[in-house]
């Protein structure tokens, strides 16, 4: 099991935002789909730091990212 960030797509899609993507410490991990206007996480590269949650929830008050437990293969 490991701890990763997960974007609530339908929530994130309400904003044309991308802010969390600019503050994730890891390369090519928190990505942005500019067609669907949603951020998405490459789970196998996410280290579970939750900086993105701070950006989305604390700074922007949008609450579109949550931390979840994953099992390998999920």
């Amino acid at each position: 099991m490991y701890y990763v960030a997960d974007v609530k797509e339908s929530e994130c899609a309400k904003y044309n935002c991308k802010q969390c993507v600019l503050f994730c410490p890891e390369p090519n991990t928190l990505m942005y789909n500019s067609e669907k206007h949603v951020a998405w996480v490459n789970y196998s590269r996410c280290k579970g730091c939750a900086v993105c949650v701070y950006v989305c929830s604390d700074l922007l008050k949008r609450n579109c990212i949550e931390m979840v437990m994953m099992t390998t293969g999920d």
């Binding site: 991308k18 993507v21 600019l22 503050f23 994730c24 410490p25 890891e26 390369p27 090519n28 928190l30 990505m31 942005y32 500019s34 590269r45 280290k47 579970g48 730091c49 939750a50 900086v51 949650v53 701070y54 950006v55 604390d58 700074l59």
Partner: protein, 288 residues
């Protein structure tokens, strides 16, 4: 390396690792990217073993996205945390003995000038507070006294992070660390003023709160080092492990430090200013 060197020879694409093909197809080689578009590219730095939530790792990420000419850049590092990521990037990386970055970079830059007299080759040192202001102090200073044409970036986490928490000259006065249990007795070294006095032509100090500003600062420091003289960036990059910062608070911490003692500061000589303005104008024209 040079642009021709990074490109894949015709017919060989199918034998190359996917990450490399992506780098050439969707990466930064041969073009300038806006750091705000970082999600649209294959980044130069790969997965690396720096800690979760490390804001030094974040800075390294933005650093690579900011390079004005990645295919013609060489990065030098030393013992310390940053090298764990610097060594995982598609930009040549040189790693010597602890603290010798600025001596090696001096020789390298001079050699590149002889070998490639009509090409721009950017040389950038990135090392820790211990590497540059303690153990490599003499070599850092002398590279500036000699006006060597390269950029020095100090990733200041105010501790020896990689070796478990000894105090450095850059640790704030009074701070208690695992291996400095009595609290530091001396002031934090004023690296910015030292850099100015020692001969740097562009000096900046900042906290990693604004990727656009980081990118602009890095580009300016690298441009001015090409022609004018040594340049120096002092960036606060917290160590969440040694300073016990919950990882989700590292950006909050950077913002706090920005308010207190890491407010954005930029200084340059008149000559550097003129050169940077000219170069920025040229870059804007080629983009348009």
């Amino acid at each position: 390396m040079g642009l021709e060197y990074v490109k894949i020879s015709p017919g060989f694409e199918k034998y190359m690792p996917k990450d490399y093909v992506d780098l050439v197809k969707y990466g930064q080689f041969g073009r300038q990217i806006d750091v705000q578009q970082i999600d649209q590219i294959k980044e130069l730095v790969e997965e690396h073993p720096m800690c979760a939530g490390c804001y030094m790792a974040y800075f390294v990420r933005i650093f690579y996205a900011s390079l004005p000419k990645p295919e013609d850049t060489i990065v030098l590092g030393t013992a310390g945390c940053a090298r764990l990521a610097l060594s995982q990037a598609a930009v040549p990386f040189i790693y010597g003995n602890y603290g010798d970055t600025n001596a090696v970079a001096s020789g390298l830059k001079r050699a590149l000038n002889i070998r490639f007299p009509d090409k721009v080759k950017d040389v950038v040192v990135m090392a820790g507070d211990g590497g540059l202001m303690d153990i490599g102090f003499g070599m850092t200073m002398h590279s500036w006294f000699r006006r060597e044409n390269f950029t020095t970036i100090m990733v200041d986490n105010e501790v020896y992070g990689n070796t478990g928490g000894q105090e450095s000259g850059m640790s704030p006065k009074g701070v208690q660390l695992k291996m400095a249990p009595k609290g530091k007795k001396f002031d934090k070294i004023n690296a910015v003023e030292l850099a100015k006095i020692a001969g740097c032509v562009y000096v900046a100090k900042l906290a990693p709160t604004n990727p656009k500003r980081i990118a602009k600062t890095i580009k300016r420091a690298i441009l001015a080092a090409r022609e004018i003289g040594p340049t120096f960036i002092h960036i606060y990059t917290s160590c969440n492990i040694e300073y016990s910062i919950p990882t989700e608070r590292v950006l909050a911490d950077a913002k706090e430090r920005e308010k207190n003692d890491f407010g954005f500061y930029e200084w340059m000589t008149d000559e550097a200013k003129q050169y940077i303005e000219e170069q920025e104008k040229k870059m804007a024209e080629t983009k348009a």
